[in-house]
């Protein structure tokens, strides 16, 4: 509701100069459109809706009519009709960020989640100007939809950005908890019996992001104590502990893999810890199993490559690292791995090429947005 109110307030703020109200029967398009806009300016929503509809019957491609009727209907929670009008609107105004935004939000309400996400991302391409409230709404919905569509890491990145931009913690905790626990649900779809668990995961992740490490550990420990058999909880505690007390972190990761053997991130994180400890024998089966779980995951290829190189299998290791690089060309860590591996294999030119690519990536990342 808060979101819809913000949208309407913003749509009304765009109102063109007002015209005198003319609610007499109007025969021409000009008369109808003038009367519709006047009714809208005077907050006579029902009359404005009737007149915009009449105007669109006379001139179906009327941009202002499509836009204002679409936003008015959105406010009235007539999402399906708003959606159809806004689809027409953006077809004629494909670079209208706000158009894509309200369309996508309508689709969110009609539960067409994949389309909604695609259109929100298009909105992000074109922007919504300085309308911060709308931009925040767009970011928030993108984040929850990314989780719903199982793109958890991207969702978490966005949610942390939202928090940094001032979004209230209360709005972030549940979406963050869902993404952290890899549960593809909207906040409204959370099962009641596990809402506290999801909130603990979200609060722990937020505390960690804010460098409140003691608080984060406490949240994660409370969560694992209350829900010891739930997938994802030991992974979160384990990931935290690997940075603090690695042996305890390893135990938690192993517990996670007993509960959810297909937890790709847990398998990879544990393998990386073994690589850090130069224990390549322990890392190898984990990396291989991770790759079996998702043969297209660049991190799985990277970790396997690092393991193989560590064990002295340069050729096979380089092959895996090259696959990882091709899948995720912007990840500099993979390219640094390759520089070291090429150097060890006396492939100086290849190492040099990777260094140049790293330089390019660093320059790109350093550019102001």
């Amino acid at each position: 509701m808060m979101l819809r109110a913000a949208v309407l307030a913003w749509a009304l703020a765009l109102a063109v100069p007002s015209f005198s109200a003319d609610t007499k029967p109007a025969a021409t398009f000009e008369q109808v459109s003038r009367a519709a806009k006047a009714a809208r300016d005077q907050n006579q929503d029902a009359e404005a809706i009737r007149l915009f509809r009449q105007g669109l019957r006379l001139k179906p491609d009327w941009d202002e009519g499509l836009w204002y009727l679409g936003t008015l209907l959105y406010e009235k929670e007539e999402f399906a009709e708003a959606r159809d009008l806004l689809r027409h609107f953006v077809a004629q105004n494909p670079k209208s960020g706000p158009g894509w935004a309200i369309l996508a939000l309508s689709e969110y309400h009609t539960r067409e989640y994949q389309r909604s996400l695609e259109h929100l991302q298009r909105c992000q391409t074109y922007g919504v100007g300085d309308r911060k409230e709308l931009a925040d709404s767009v970011f928030y919905v993108v984040a929850v939809l990314l989780t719903r569509l199982e793109q958890y890491d991207d969702a978490m990145t966005l949610l942390f950005q939202l928090r940094s931009a001032g979004q209230a913690e209360a709005n972030i905790i549940e979406p963050l908890g869902l993404a952290a626990l890899r549960m593809p649900l909207l906040p409204a779809e959370i099962p009641q019996d596990r809402r506290p668990m999801i909130r603990m995961a979200g609060a722990g992740a937020l505390a960690l992001e804010g460098q409140h490490r003691e608080e984060a550990e406490q949240k994660f420990r409370d969560m694992t104590a209350a829900y010891p058999d739930e997938p994802g909880v030991h992974f979160l505690l384990g990931a935290f502990l690997l940075d603090e007390r690695p042996e305890n972190g390893i135990s938690e990761m192993k517990r996670e893999l007993e509960i959810s053997p297909s937890h790709l991130a847990a398998r990879l994180r544990l393998a990386q810890e073994y690589i850090r400890q130069q224990n390549f024998g322990a890392a190898l089966p984990l990396a291989q199993q991770a790759l079996e779980l998702d043969p297209k995951d660049p991190s799985a290829h990277m970790v396997l490559g690092e393991t193989l190189v560590g064990k002295g299998g340069l050729t096979a290791g380089i092959h895996e690292l090259e696959t990882a690089r091709d899948l995720a060309p912007d990840l500099t860590r993979i390219r640094w791995d390759l520089v070291r591996a090429y150097t060890a294999a006396d492939r100086g030119e290849d190492a040099q090429r990777e260094k140049q690519e790293i330089e390019k990536l660093n320059q790109q990342n350093a550019k102001p947005e």
């Binding site: 159809d84 689809r87 649900l185 779809e189």
Partner: protein
């Protein structure tokens, strides 16, 4: 996998005939419309095609492009209107029925969508791979909504085998497996996790990844074991992995939760029959199932098969005849019916059923259209229900 279609299918159309006049001629409009479309100036293309088909309503190519552009823009009511004109002006417009089905789905005219998909299937499901994939997916959603779960799963199975886990496919399979008569846009939000867990298990099962199947199925049972269909579902997942004892235990648990679960009874009947242990219990289960769901062909098939094993060929033939009537394209029913006739000494009927079985079996494997396959429970879906 992307379920939304991007389409600009090239169809072999004749050049529009030339006309003359002071206002833009039809051929000039058609040329400009094509140019605008090629240049991705879609609002202009729409305006020009609209004007061209206004001048010449029988110009099917114009309707096709208009429908395609609208569809591309998700403007389904307008696309629907254009494809209807296209179908009316182009008698061989077979692939357009799939688009019409998709437009009707998007505008929530579900009965009309079902009709168009059926028409499309009867014409051999023409179209490119992406259209076929998208159309079958949406048809499967409608079959689930209609309560035709095995048929829905038959269509979803191929996509799952091909593409593996995908959020939309997972949701569709979850709904069908849990026998929830909903489309993804309208089921209760509190059931989302249950649908996701079942769908994930089912997608991994379709790829023979039984370790992950059981991981998700165990989570499903842990949280939703008191809901109808959940133990039945887990039993089916065990069956797929040939864990028959575990499967049987789950079917029995399903009967604790849902005492009138006919599908669980049928599975228990077949399990008892195949293990040759308890034919009388198998018969009880099958009889109860057919009483509960007299139109379920698998129940009659199970009962007929068990009766035959017990030497009651006459009653067996009656049950199998019923099964054959309800699922005429199911090869295994004809095979069993033939065996019953043989026992009864009805040689001609036996030979006829065996011939049907042979033809049907080959046809199911090679020639059957999806519509034909959907008439009954195909052989490779024996365990679905």
């Amino acid at each position: 996998m992307v379920w939304a279609l991007t389409l600009f299918l090239v169809l072999p159309f004749a050049e529009p005939p030339q006309t003359t006049g002071t206002r833009p001629s039809f051929s000039e409009l058609a040329r400009q419309a094509d140019e605008a479309r090629s240049a991705d100036k879609l609002p202009d293309a729409i305006r020009l095609y609209r004007e061209a088909v206004r001048q010449r309503p029988g110009w099917s190519e114009g309707w096709w492009w208009l429908g395609s552009i609208y569809y591309e823009q998700d403007r389904f009511p307008e696309a629907q209107e254009s494809f209807r004109h296209f179908v009316a002006t182009s008698p061989d417009a077979t692939a357009a029925y799939a688009f019409l089905g998709l437009c009707e789905y998007e505008t929530r005219h579900f009965d009309a969508a079902r009709r168009y998909f059926s028409q499309w299937a009867l014409k051999g499901s023409p179209g490119d791979d992406r259209l076929i994939e998208v159309a079958f997916f949406h048809w499967a959603l409608l079959l689930t909504q209609e309560g035709r779960f095995p048929q829905a799963l038959f269509l979803l199975q191929k996509a799952a085998e091909q593409h593996g886990p995908n959020p939309l496919l997972i949701e569709a399979m979850g709904l069908a497996w849990l026998q929830m008569r909903h489309i993804p846009e309208d089921y209760p939000p509190e059931q989302r996790e249950m649908v996701w867990l079942a769908g994930s298990a089912a997608v991994f099962a379709s790829r023979s990844d039984f370790a992950r199947t059981q991981e998700y199925a165990a989570r499903l049972v842990a949280h939703y074991g008191d809901r109808s269909n959940v133990h039945y579902f887990r039993g089916m997942m065990y069956s797929f992995n040939s864990q028959l004892e575990e499967a049987e235990a789950e079917f029995r648990k399903e009967l604790d939760v849902t005492p009138a679960h006919a599908s669980a009874m049928i599975q228990l009947a077949l399990a008892q029959y195949f293990s040759s242990s308890q034919l009388s219990e198998a018969r009880d289960f099958a009889q109860k199932a057919t009483a509960l769901e007299p139109k379920n062909p698998l129940g009659h098939y199970a009962l007929g098969t068990i009766l035959l094993a017990q030497g009651e060929a006459q009653q067996s033939a009656q049950e199998l005849e019923l099964a054959a009537k309800l699922a005429p394209a199911d090869a295994k029913v004809h095979l069993q019916l033939g065996r019953a006739y043989k026992k009864l000494g009805r040689t001609k009927d036996f030979e006829h059923e065996m011939a049907v079985f042979t033809a049907m079996k080959d046809k199911q494997n090679v020639f059957a259209t999806p519509e034909e396959k959907l008439q009954g429970l195909p052989k490779n879906m024996e365990q679905v229900k």
